[in-house]
Amino acid sequence: MTGGNDSAASPYSVAHLRHVGRPHWGRWLAAVLILLAFAAIVQAFVEGQIAWHVVAQFLTAQAILSGLVNTVLMTFWAMAFGIVLGVLFAIMRMSPNPVLRSVSVFYIWFFRGTPLLLQLLLWFNLALILPRLGIPGIGWLRTVDVITPFVATLLGLGINQGAYTAEVVRGGILSVDSGQSEAAKTIGMTRLTTLRRIILPQAMRVILPPIGNEVISMVKLTSLASVIQYAEILRNAQTIYFANARVIELLIVAAFWYLAVVTILSIGQYFIEKRFSRGGGDRGAGPAAPRQT
Protein backbone atom coordinates (compact mmCIF):
# COMPACT_ATOMS: atom_id res chain seq x y z
CA MET A 1 0.00 0.00 0.00
CA THR A 2 2.09 2.94 -1.24
CA GLY A 3 1.18 6.53 -1.96
CA GLY A 4 -1.61 6.46 0.66
CA ASN A 5 -1.65 10.26 0.89
CA ASP A 6 -2.70 10.89 -2.71
CA SER A 7 -5.25 8.15 -2.87
CA ALA A 8 -8.29 9.39 -0.90
CA ALA A 9 -10.04 6.10 -1.50
CA SER A 10 -7.45 4.18 0.50
CA PRO A 11 -8.55 3.22 4.03
CA TYR A 12 -4.96 3.96 5.17
CA SER A 13 -4.78 7.61 4.09
CA VAL A 14 -4.31 9.88 7.12
CA ALA A 15 -3.57 13.38 5.78
CA HIS A 16 -7.18 14.65 6.09
CA LEU A 17 -7.73 13.27 9.64
CA ARG A 18 -7.67 15.58 12.67
CA HIS A 19 -7.41 15.07 16.46
CA VAL A 20 -10.47 15.99 18.55
CA GLY A 21 -10.12 16.66 22.31
CA ARG A 22 -11.75 14.23 24.67
CA PRO A 23 -14.75 15.83 26.49
CA HIS A 24 -14.07 16.27 30.22
CA TRP A 25 -17.63 16.16 31.63
CA GLY A 26 -16.40 14.91 34.98
CA ARG A 27 -14.07 17.86 35.43
CA TRP A 28 -16.79 20.39 34.66
CA LEU A 29 -19.21 18.69 37.01
CA ALA A 30 -16.63 18.56 39.83
CA ALA A 31 -15.73 22.22 39.29
CA VAL A 32 -19.38 23.30 39.51
CA LEU A 33 -20.02 21.25 42.67
CA ILE A 34 -16.89 22.54 44.38
CA LEU A 35 -17.64 26.15 43.47
CA LEU A 36 -21.13 25.78 44.94
CA ALA A 37 -19.76 24.27 48.16
CA PHE A 38 -17.09 26.96 48.39
CA ALA A 39 -19.67 29.71 47.86
CA ALA A 40 -21.78 28.21 50.64
CA ILE A 41 -18.81 28.20 53.03
CA VAL A 42 -17.87 31.77 52.17
CA GLN A 43 -21.45 32.86 52.68
CA ALA A 44 -21.60 31.10 56.04
CA PHE A 45 -18.50 32.93 57.20
CA VAL A 46 -19.71 36.29 55.89
CA GLU A 47 -23.06 35.90 57.62
CA GLY A 48 -21.60 34.12 60.65
CA GLN A 49 -20.71 35.92 63.83
CA ILE A 50 -17.25 37.04 62.83
CA ALA A 51 -16.44 40.69 63.19
CA TRP A 52 -14.15 41.05 60.17
CA HIS A 53 -13.29 44.61 61.06
CA VAL A 54 -11.80 43.27 64.31
CA VAL A 55 -9.71 40.79 62.31
CA ALA A 56 -8.47 43.64 60.12
CA GLN A 57 -7.81 45.82 63.14
CA PHE A 58 -5.68 43.23 64.97
CA LEU A 59 -3.91 41.84 61.90
CA THR A 60 -1.13 44.42 62.32
CA ALA A 61 -1.51 45.10 66.04
CA GLN A 62 1.74 45.67 67.91
CA ALA A 63 1.35 42.55 70.11
CA ILE A 64 0.50 40.34 67.13
CA LEU A 65 3.47 41.54 65.10
CA SER A 66 5.90 41.11 67.99
CA GLY A 67 4.44 37.61 68.51
CA LEU A 68 5.03 36.95 64.81
CA VAL A 69 8.65 38.04 65.15
CA ASN A 70 9.07 35.75 68.17
CA THR A 71 7.53 32.83 66.27
CA VAL A 72 9.87 33.33 63.32
CA LEU A 73 12.91 33.80 65.56
CA MET A 74 12.11 30.68 67.57
CA THR A 75 11.55 28.66 64.39
CA PHE A 76 14.95 29.77 63.14
CA TRP A 77 16.92 29.15 66.33
CA ALA A 78 15.18 25.90 67.28
CA MET A 79 15.68 24.55 63.77
CA ALA A 80 19.33 25.66 63.66
CA PHE A 81 19.92 24.04 67.06
CA GLY A 82 18.04 20.93 65.94
CA ILE A 83 20.05 20.59 62.71
CA VAL A 84 23.38 21.00 64.53
CA LEU A 85 22.34 18.34 67.05
CA GLY A 86 20.91 16.15 64.30
CA VAL A 87 24.11 16.15 62.22
CA LEU A 88 26.21 15.60 65.35
CA PHE A 89 24.13 12.67 66.58
CA ALA A 90 23.82 11.15 63.10
CA ILE A 91 27.61 11.12 62.83
CA MET A 92 27.88 9.68 66.35
CA ARG A 93 25.29 7.05 65.46
CA MET A 94 27.50 5.90 62.56
CA SER A 95 30.79 6.22 64.42
CA PRO A 96 33.02 3.18 64.96
CA ASN A 97 33.16 4.22 68.64
CA PRO A 98 30.56 2.11 70.53
CA VAL A 99 30.21 4.66 73.37
CA LEU A 100 29.27 7.49 71.00
CA ARG A 101 26.95 5.14 69.13
CA SER A 102 25.09 4.15 72.31
CA VAL A 103 24.73 7.76 73.47
CA SER A 104 23.18 8.64 70.12
CA VAL A 105 20.79 5.68 70.18
CA PHE A 106 19.67 6.65 73.70
CA TYR A 107 19.17 10.31 72.73
CA ILE A 108 17.03 9.45 69.73
CA TRP A 109 15.05 6.87 71.70
CA PHE A 110 14.31 9.24 74.59
CA PHE A 111 13.41 12.41 72.73
CA ARG A 112 11.35 10.70 70.03
CA GLY A 113 9.66 8.59 72.65
CA THR A 114 8.15 11.33 74.84
CA PRO A 115 5.62 14.02 73.85
CA LEU A 116 7.05 17.40 72.89
CA LEU A 117 4.60 19.22 75.17
CA LEU A 118 5.83 17.16 78.11
CA GLN A 119 9.46 17.94 77.22
CA LEU A 120 8.67 21.67 77.10
CA LEU A 121 7.07 21.48 80.56
CA LEU A 122 10.08 19.55 81.88
CA TRP A 123 12.58 22.16 80.66
CA PHE A 124 10.45 25.00 81.95
CA ASN A 125 10.26 23.37 85.37
CA LEU A 126 13.90 22.34 85.49
CA ALA A 127 14.34 24.46 88.63
CA LEU A 128 12.24 21.93 90.52
CA ILE A 129 14.96 19.29 89.91
CA LEU A 130 18.06 21.46 89.87
CA PRO A 131 17.66 24.73 91.77
CA ARG A 132 21.08 25.96 90.64
CA LEU A 133 23.09 25.43 87.45
CA GLY A 134 26.82 25.84 86.99
CA ILE A 135 30.25 24.31 86.79
CA PRO A 136 32.08 23.54 90.07
CA GLY A 137 34.91 26.01 90.54
CA ILE A 138 33.60 28.49 87.98
CA GLY A 139 30.25 29.75 89.12
CA TRP A 140 26.62 29.02 89.82
CA LEU A 141 23.37 30.63 88.66
CA ARG A 142 19.82 30.23 89.85
CA THR A 143 17.99 27.95 87.42
CA VAL A 144 14.92 30.21 87.30
CA ASP A 145 17.13 33.02 86.02
CA VAL A 146 18.67 30.88 83.28
CA ILE A 147 15.63 28.95 82.08
CA THR A 148 13.50 31.77 80.75
CA PRO A 149 10.51 30.88 78.55
CA PHE A 150 12.74 31.55 75.53
CA VAL A 151 15.51 29.23 76.73
CA ALA A 152 13.09 26.50 77.80
CA THR A 153 11.35 26.64 74.41
CA LEU A 154 14.64 26.63 72.52
CA LEU A 155 15.90 23.63 74.47
CA GLY A 156 12.61 21.75 74.21
CA LEU A 157 12.01 22.32 70.48
CA GLY A 158 15.67 22.14 69.42
CA ILE A 159 16.57 18.97 71.27
CA ASN A 160 13.38 17.24 70.16
CA GLN A 161 13.98 18.34 66.56
CA GLY A 162 17.56 17.07 66.77
CA ALA A 163 16.34 13.54 67.47
CA TYR A 164 14.25 13.54 64.28
CA THR A 165 16.86 15.32 62.21
CA ALA A 166 19.50 12.79 63.29
CA GLU A 167 17.50 10.04 61.62
CA VAL A 168 16.92 12.13 58.50
CA VAL A 169 20.64 12.92 58.23
CA ARG A 170 21.58 9.28 58.81
CA GLY A 171 19.23 8.24 56.01
CA GLY A 172 20.85 10.85 53.76
CA ILE A 173 24.36 9.65 54.57
CA LEU A 174 23.37 6.04 53.90
CA SER A 175 21.92 7.07 50.53
CA VAL A 176 25.36 8.09 49.22
CA ASP A 177 27.11 5.31 47.33
CA SER A 178 29.93 3.71 49.35
CA GLY A 179 32.23 4.13 46.33
CA GLN A 180 32.24 7.87 47.05
CA SER A 181 33.84 7.48 50.46
CA GLU A 182 36.26 4.86 49.13
CA ALA A 183 37.38 7.28 46.42
CA ALA A 184 37.80 9.97 49.08
CA LYS A 185 39.96 7.63 51.16
CA THR A 186 42.21 6.88 48.19
CA ILE A 187 43.03 10.58 47.81
CA GLY A 188 44.05 10.66 51.47
CA MET A 189 40.95 12.10 53.14
CA THR A 190 40.25 11.29 56.77
CA ARG A 191 36.82 10.08 57.86
CA LEU A 192 35.61 13.51 58.98
CA THR A 193 36.95 15.36 55.92
CA THR A 194 35.21 12.79 53.74
CA LEU A 195 31.94 13.43 55.56
CA ARG A 196 32.26 17.19 55.26
CA ARG A 197 33.51 17.46 51.68
CA ILE A 198 32.05 14.42 49.90
CA ILE A 199 29.26 12.67 51.80
CA LEU A 200 27.20 15.46 53.41
CA PRO A 201 27.02 17.65 50.27
CA GLN A 202 25.62 14.68 48.34
CA ALA A 203 23.39 13.57 51.21
CA MET A 204 21.82 17.06 51.10
CA ARG A 205 19.66 16.07 48.15
CA VAL A 206 18.03 13.40 50.29
CA ILE A 207 18.12 15.38 53.56
CA LEU A 208 16.68 18.70 52.37
CA PRO A 209 13.11 17.77 51.37
CA PRO A 210 12.26 16.29 54.79
CA ILE A 211 14.12 19.12 56.59
CA GLY A 212 12.10 21.65 54.62
CA ASN A 213 9.01 19.81 55.76
CA GLU A 214 10.19 19.98 59.35
CA VAL A 215 10.91 23.70 59.21
CA ILE A 216 7.30 24.18 58.17
CA SER A 217 6.20 21.86 60.94
CA MET A 218 8.39 23.80 63.41
CA VAL A 219 6.63 27.09 62.60
CA LYS A 220 3.47 25.55 63.97
CA LEU A 221 5.09 23.59 66.82
CA THR A 222 6.32 26.87 68.31
CA SER A 223 2.67 27.48 69.24
CA LEU A 224 3.07 24.78 71.93
CA ALA A 225 5.40 27.20 73.72
CA SER A 226 2.31 29.27 74.54
CA VAL A 227 1.79 26.95 77.52
CA ILE A 228 5.15 27.92 79.02
CA GLN A 229 4.63 31.67 78.60
CA TYR A 230 6.79 32.22 75.52
CA ALA A 231 5.29 35.28 73.81
CA GLU A 232 4.83 33.83 70.33
CA ILE A 233 1.94 34.75 68.10
CA LEU A 234 -0.68 32.33 69.44
CA ARG A 235 0.02 33.26 73.07
CA ASN A 236 -0.23 36.97 72.27
CA ALA A 237 -3.48 36.37 70.38
CA GLN A 238 -4.80 34.52 73.44
CA THR A 239 -3.72 37.31 75.76
CA ILE A 240 -5.72 39.74 73.64
CA TYR A 241 -8.86 37.61 73.45
CA PHE A 242 -8.81 36.96 77.18
CA ALA A 243 -9.23 40.73 77.46
CA ASN A 244 -11.68 41.51 74.62
CA ALA A 245 -13.43 38.11 74.16
CA ARG A 246 -12.93 38.24 70.34
CA VAL A 247 -11.74 34.60 70.35
CA ILE A 248 -12.45 33.59 66.75
CA GLU A 249 -11.27 36.88 65.28
CA LEU A 250 -7.87 36.60 66.96
CA LEU A 251 -7.51 32.94 66.07
CA ILE A 252 -8.12 33.94 62.44
CA VAL A 253 -5.45 36.62 62.76
CA ALA A 254 -2.96 34.03 64.06
CA ALA A 255 -3.94 31.52 61.36
CA PHE A 256 -3.40 34.18 58.70
CA TRP A 257 0.16 34.82 59.84
CA TYR A 258 1.03 31.13 60.18
CA LEU A 259 -0.17 30.58 56.60
CA ALA A 260 1.79 33.59 55.38
CA VAL A 261 5.04 32.39 56.96
CA VAL A 262 4.57 28.82 55.73
CA THR A 263 3.84 30.03 52.19
CA ILE A 264 7.05 32.05 52.07
CA LEU A 265 9.04 29.11 53.45
CA SER A 266 7.58 26.73 50.86
CA ILE A 267 8.78 28.99 48.08
CA GLY A 268 12.24 29.20 49.66
CA GLN A 269 12.36 25.42 49.97
CA TYR A 270 11.85 25.03 46.22
CA PHE A 271 14.88 27.19 45.42
CA ILE A 272 17.15 25.61 48.03
CA GLU A 273 16.36 22.10 46.78
CA LYS A 274 17.15 23.19 43.23
CA ARG A 275 20.52 24.54 44.36
CA PHE A 276 21.57 21.29 46.04
CA SER A 277 20.50 18.94 43.25
CA ARG A 278 23.56 19.87 41.17
CA GLY A 279 25.42 16.94 39.67
CA GLY A 280 22.32 14.80 40.16
CA GLY A 281 21.92 14.01 36.49
CA ASP A 282 18.25 15.06 36.42
CA ARG A 283 18.60 18.79 36.81
CA GLY A 284 16.28 19.39 33.89
CA ALA A 285 18.22 22.45 32.75
CA GLY A 286 20.51 20.46 30.49
CA PRO A 287 24.30 20.69 30.72
CA ALA A 288 25.59 23.07 33.35
CA ALA A 289 26.65 26.45 32.10
CA PRO A 290 30.44 26.81 32.12
CA ARG A 291 31.58 28.48 35.30
CA GLN A 292 34.59 30.64 36.01
CA THR A 293 36.90 28.78 38.36
Binding site: G179, I198, Q202, R278, A288
Partner: protein, 261 residues
Protein backbone atom coordinates in the same frame (compact mmCIF):
# COMPACT_ATOMS: atom_id res chain seq x y z
CA UNK B 1 62.87 -6.41 53.52
CA UNK B 2 63.81 -2.79 53.20
CA UNK B 3 67.39 -3.23 54.37
CA UNK B 4 68.77 -4.95 51.28
CA UNK B 5 71.48 -2.52 50.22
CA UNK B 6 72.09 -3.84 46.71
CA UNK B 7 68.66 -3.13 45.21
CA UNK B 8 66.29 -0.20 45.03
CA UNK B 9 63.58 -0.36 47.71
CA UNK B 10 60.69 -2.36 46.29
CA UNK B 11 57.53 -0.30 45.78
CA UNK B 12 55.32 -2.97 47.32
CA UNK B 13 56.28 -5.98 49.44
CA UNK B 14 53.50 -8.34 50.53
CA UNK B 15 54.42 -11.16 52.90
CA UNK B 16 52.01 -14.02 53.58
CA UNK B 17 48.90 -11.82 53.43
CA UNK B 18 45.65 -13.37 54.67
CA UNK B 19 42.18 -11.90 54.50
CA UNK B 20 38.86 -13.38 55.62
CA UNK B 21 35.33 -12.24 54.84
CA UNK B 22 33.47 -14.15 57.54
CA UNK B 23 34.19 -17.79 56.78
CA UNK B 24 35.52 -17.05 53.28
CA UNK B 25 39.31 -17.18 53.07
CA UNK B 26 39.63 -14.47 50.44
CA UNK B 27 43.43 -14.18 50.51
CA UNK B 28 45.32 -17.31 51.46
CA UNK B 29 48.95 -16.36 51.93
CA UNK B 30 49.82 -13.87 49.18
CA UNK B 31 53.52 -12.98 48.92
CA UNK B 32 54.60 -10.63 46.18
CA UNK B 33 57.20 -7.96 45.47
CA UNK B 34 56.79 -5.14 42.98
CA UNK B 35 59.78 -3.06 41.89
CA UNK B 36 59.65 0.66 41.11
CA UNK B 37 58.48 1.34 37.54
CA UNK B 38 57.28 -2.23 37.21
CA UNK B 39 53.92 -2.86 35.55
CA UNK B 40 52.21 -5.84 37.06
CA UNK B 41 48.94 -7.25 35.76
CA UNK B 42 46.90 -9.50 38.01
CA UNK B 43 44.48 -11.79 36.20
CA UNK B 44 42.16 -14.49 37.43
CA UNK B 45 38.51 -15.53 37.65
CA UNK B 46 36.05 -13.44 39.67
CA UNK B 47 36.25 -14.28 43.34
CA UNK B 48 39.93 -15.19 43.06
CA UNK B 49 40.90 -12.40 45.49
CA UNK B 50 42.71 -10.18 42.99
CA UNK B 51 40.64 -7.06 43.72
CA UNK B 52 40.77 -7.77 47.45
CA UNK B 53 44.56 -7.92 47.31
CA UNK B 54 44.66 -4.59 45.47
CA UNK B 55 42.37 -3.03 48.09
CA UNK B 56 44.61 -4.35 50.87
CA UNK B 57 47.60 -2.52 49.37
CA UNK B 58 45.99 0.89 49.98
CA UNK B 59 44.17 -0.25 53.12
CA UNK B 60 40.62 -0.09 51.84
CA UNK B 61 40.57 -3.57 53.40
CA UNK B 62 42.28 -4.46 56.66
CA UNK B 63 44.42 -7.58 56.44
CA UNK B 64 44.00 -10.43 58.92
CA UNK B 65 47.50 -11.88 58.68
CA UNK B 66 50.93 -11.12 57.18
CA UNK B 67 52.13 -7.63 56.33
CA UNK B 68 52.38 -5.22 53.41
CA UNK B 69 55.01 -2.52 52.91
CA UNK B 70 54.21 0.27 50.45
CA UNK B 71 57.05 2.53 49.37
CA UNK B 72 59.10 1.32 52.33
CA UNK B 73 56.43 1.96 54.99
CA UNK B 74 54.64 -0.82 56.87
CA UNK B 75 50.97 -0.39 55.94
CA UNK B 76 48.56 0.28 58.79
CA UNK B 77 50.90 -0.34 61.73
CA UNK B 78 53.76 1.15 63.69
CA UNK B 79 56.28 -1.42 64.79
CA UNK B 80 57.61 -0.98 68.32
CA UNK B 81 59.96 -3.86 69.09
CA UNK B 82 57.92 -6.89 68.12
CA UNK B 83 54.57 -5.22 68.80
CA UNK B 84 52.45 -3.83 65.96
CA UNK B 85 50.42 -0.79 66.99
CA UNK B 86 47.56 0.17 64.64
CA UNK B 87 47.88 3.62 63.09
CA UNK B 88 45.23 6.31 63.55
CA UNK B 89 42.73 7.34 60.89
CA UNK B 90 44.89 10.37 60.01
CA UNK B 91 48.12 8.36 59.78
CA UNK B 92 46.46 5.81 57.49
CA UNK B 93 45.15 8.66 55.34
CA UNK B 94 48.72 9.97 55.00
CA UNK B 95 50.03 6.52 54.07
CA UNK B 96 47.43 6.26 51.32
CA UNK B 97 48.97 9.30 49.62
CA UNK B 98 51.77 7.12 48.20
CA UNK B 99 49.26 5.25 46.02
CA UNK B 100 46.52 6.35 43.67
CA UNK B 101 43.54 4.14 42.86
CA UNK B 102 41.21 3.79 39.91
CA UNK B 103 37.96 1.91 40.44
CA UNK B 104 35.86 -0.29 38.22
CA UNK B 105 32.85 2.03 38.71
CA UNK B 106 34.91 5.28 38.45
CA UNK B 107 33.52 6.76 41.72
CA UNK B 108 33.93 10.35 40.60
CA UNK B 109 32.52 12.79 43.16
CA UNK B 110 29.05 13.25 41.69
CA UNK B 111 28.52 16.79 43.02
CA UNK B 112 31.72 18.17 41.51
CA UNK B 113 32.76 19.02 37.96
CA UNK B 114 35.65 17.20 36.32
CA UNK B 115 38.04 19.99 37.31
CA UNK B 116 36.72 20.11 40.89
CA UNK B 117 37.19 16.35 41.16
CA UNK B 118 40.83 16.65 40.13
CA UNK B 119 41.74 19.59 42.41
CA UNK B 120 39.85 18.28 45.46
CA UNK B 121 42.71 16.16 46.83
CA UNK B 122 45.55 18.63 46.13
CA UNK B 123 43.63 21.56 47.67
CA UNK B 124 41.82 19.90 50.59
CA UNK B 125 44.26 17.15 51.55
CA UNK B 126 47.66 18.41 50.41
CA UNK B 127 46.80 22.08 51.08
CA UNK B 128 48.30 23.21 47.80
CA UNK B 129 47.42 26.68 46.50
CA UNK B 130 44.22 26.58 44.47
CA UNK B 131 45.65 28.40 41.47
CA UNK B 132 48.56 25.93 41.30
CA UNK B 133 46.22 22.97 41.70
CA UNK B 134 44.00 24.23 38.88
CA UNK B 135 46.99 24.69 36.61
CA UNK B 136 48.24 21.16 37.34
CA UNK B 137 44.72 19.73 37.00
CA UNK B 138 44.21 21.34 33.60
CA UNK B 139 47.49 19.84 32.43
CA UNK B 140 46.32 16.42 33.64
CA UNK B 141 42.91 16.77 31.96
CA UNK B 142 44.77 17.74 28.79
CA UNK B 143 46.92 14.63 29.15
CA UNK B 144 43.85 12.35 29.37
CA UNK B 145 42.28 14.26 26.47
CA UNK B 146 39.46 15.95 28.40
CA UNK B 147 40.53 19.59 28.74
CA UNK B 148 37.28 20.75 27.15
CA UNK B 149 35.21 18.78 29.70
CA UNK B 150 36.60 20.62 32.73
CA UNK B 151 33.20 22.00 33.73
CA UNK B 152 31.14 18.88 33.04
CA UNK B 153 29.61 16.93 35.91
CA UNK B 154 30.20 13.16 35.98
CA UNK B 155 26.59 12.48 34.97
CA UNK B 156 27.26 14.38 31.74
CA UNK B 157 30.29 12.27 30.81
CA UNK B 158 30.49 8.84 29.15
CA UNK B 159 31.94 5.95 31.15
CA UNK B 160 35.24 6.21 29.31
CA UNK B 161 35.45 9.94 29.97
CA UNK B 162 34.60 9.45 33.66
CA UNK B 163 37.33 6.85 34.00
CA UNK B 164 39.87 9.16 32.37
CA UNK B 165 38.91 11.95 34.81
CA UNK B 166 39.27 9.40 37.63
CA UNK B 167 42.81 8.62 36.43
CA UNK B 168 43.59 12.36 36.35
CA UNK B 169 42.18 12.72 39.88
CA UNK B 170 44.46 9.95 41.14
CA UNK B 171 47.51 11.36 39.34
CA UNK B 172 46.88 14.83 40.76
CA UNK B 173 48.04 13.53 44.15
CA UNK B 174 51.45 12.72 42.59
CA UNK B 175 51.38 9.11 43.78
CA UNK B 176 54.40 6.79 43.58
CA UNK B 177 52.19 3.84 42.65
CA UNK B 178 48.95 3.49 40.71
CA UNK B 179 46.42 0.77 41.45
CA UNK B 180 43.81 -0.11 38.81
CA UNK B 181 40.86 -2.26 39.87
CA UNK B 182 39.32 -3.63 36.64
CA UNK B 183 39.33 -0.13 35.13
CA UNK B 184 37.61 -1.15 31.88
CA UNK B 185 35.17 -3.80 33.09
CA UNK B 186 32.22 -1.41 33.48
CA UNK B 187 32.74 0.23 30.08
CA UNK B 188 30.92 -0.26 26.81
CA UNK B 189 33.28 -2.11 24.43
CA UNK B 190 33.86 0.91 22.18
CA UNK B 191 35.04 2.99 25.18
CA UNK B 192 37.66 0.52 26.46
CA UNK B 193 40.31 1.67 24.00
CA UNK B 194 40.45 5.31 25.16
CA UNK B 195 41.05 4.27 28.78
CA UNK B 196 43.69 1.70 27.85
CA UNK B 197 45.43 4.36 25.74
CA UNK B 198 45.73 6.63 28.80
CA UNK B 199 47.09 3.71 30.82
CA UNK B 200 49.65 2.90 28.11
CA UNK B 201 50.78 6.51 28.16
CA UNK B 202 51.15 6.30 31.92
CA UNK B 203 53.11 3.06 31.68
CA UNK B 204 55.49 4.73 29.23
CA UNK B 205 56.18 7.42 31.86
CA UNK B 206 57.66 4.76 34.20
CA UNK B 207 54.87 4.94 36.76
CA UNK B 208 54.68 1.82 38.94
CA UNK B 209 51.35 0.18 38.14
CA UNK B 210 49.38 -2.76 39.49
CA UNK B 211 46.49 -3.54 37.20
CA UNK B 212 43.74 -6.03 37.96
CA UNK B 213 42.26 -6.67 34.54
CA UNK B 214 40.55 -9.02 32.11
CA UNK B 215 42.21 -7.26 29.18
CA UNK B 216 44.76 -9.96 28.32
CA UNK B 217 45.80 -8.01 25.22
CA UNK B 218 46.76 -5.05 27.40
CA UNK B 219 48.60 -7.38 29.80
CA UNK B 220 50.58 -8.97 26.97
CA UNK B 221 51.53 -5.65 25.45
CA UNK B 222 52.24 -3.46 28.50
CA UNK B 223 52.93 -5.62 31.56
CA UNK B 224 56.43 -6.58 32.72
CA UNK B 225 54.96 -9.43 34.72
CA UNK B 226 51.62 -11.22 34.97
CA UNK B 227 50.27 -12.89 38.09
CA UNK B 228 47.46 -15.45 37.84
CA UNK B 229 45.37 -15.79 41.02
CA UNK B 230 42.74 -18.35 41.91
CA UNK B 231 41.06 -19.19 45.22
CA UNK B 232 42.96 -16.50 47.13
CA UNK B 233 46.39 -17.79 46.08
CA UNK B 234 48.94 -16.93 43.44
CA UNK B 235 48.87 -19.91 41.07
CA UNK B 236 51.67 -18.77 38.80
CA UNK B 237 53.52 -15.66 37.75
CA UNK B 238 55.99 -14.75 35.07
CA UNK B 239 56.59 -12.77 31.91
CA UNK B 240 53.36 -12.05 30.01
CA UNK B 241 54.32 -14.11 26.96
CA UNK B 242 55.03 -17.13 29.18
CA UNK B 243 51.88 -16.91 31.30
CA UNK B 244 49.54 -16.02 28.46
CA UNK B 245 50.99 -18.19 25.70
CA UNK B 246 52.38 -21.22 27.56
CA UNK B 247 50.77 -21.44 31.00
CA UNK B 248 52.02 -24.35 33.11
CA UNK B 249 49.05 -24.87 35.42
CA UNK B 250 45.79 -26.41 34.35
CA UNK B 251 43.70 -23.63 36.02
CA UNK B 252 45.64 -20.94 34.16
CA UNK B 253 45.16 -22.77 30.86
CA UNK B 254 41.42 -23.08 31.44
CA UNK B 255 41.07 -19.42 32.42
CA UNK B 256 43.06 -18.08 29.48
CA UNK B 257 41.30 -20.24 26.91
CA UNK B 258 37.95 -19.15 28.39
CA UNK B 259 38.80 -15.41 28.28
CA UNK B 260 40.58 -15.26 24.92
CA UNK B 261 38.23 -15.49 21.95
Amino acid sequence: MSDQPMRATPMVVAVDVHKYFGALHALDGISLEIAPAEILCIIGPSGSGKSTFLRCINQLERIDGGAIWVDGALAGYRRVGDALHPLTDGEIARQRLSSGMVFQRFNLFAHMTALENVIEGPVVVQKRRKSEAIEAALALLERVGLAEKRDAYPAELSGGQQQRVAIARALAMKPRLMLFDEPTSALDPELVGEVLAVMRDLAASRMTMIVVTHELGFAREVANRVVFMDGGRIVEEGAPQDILATPRHQRTKEFISAVLP
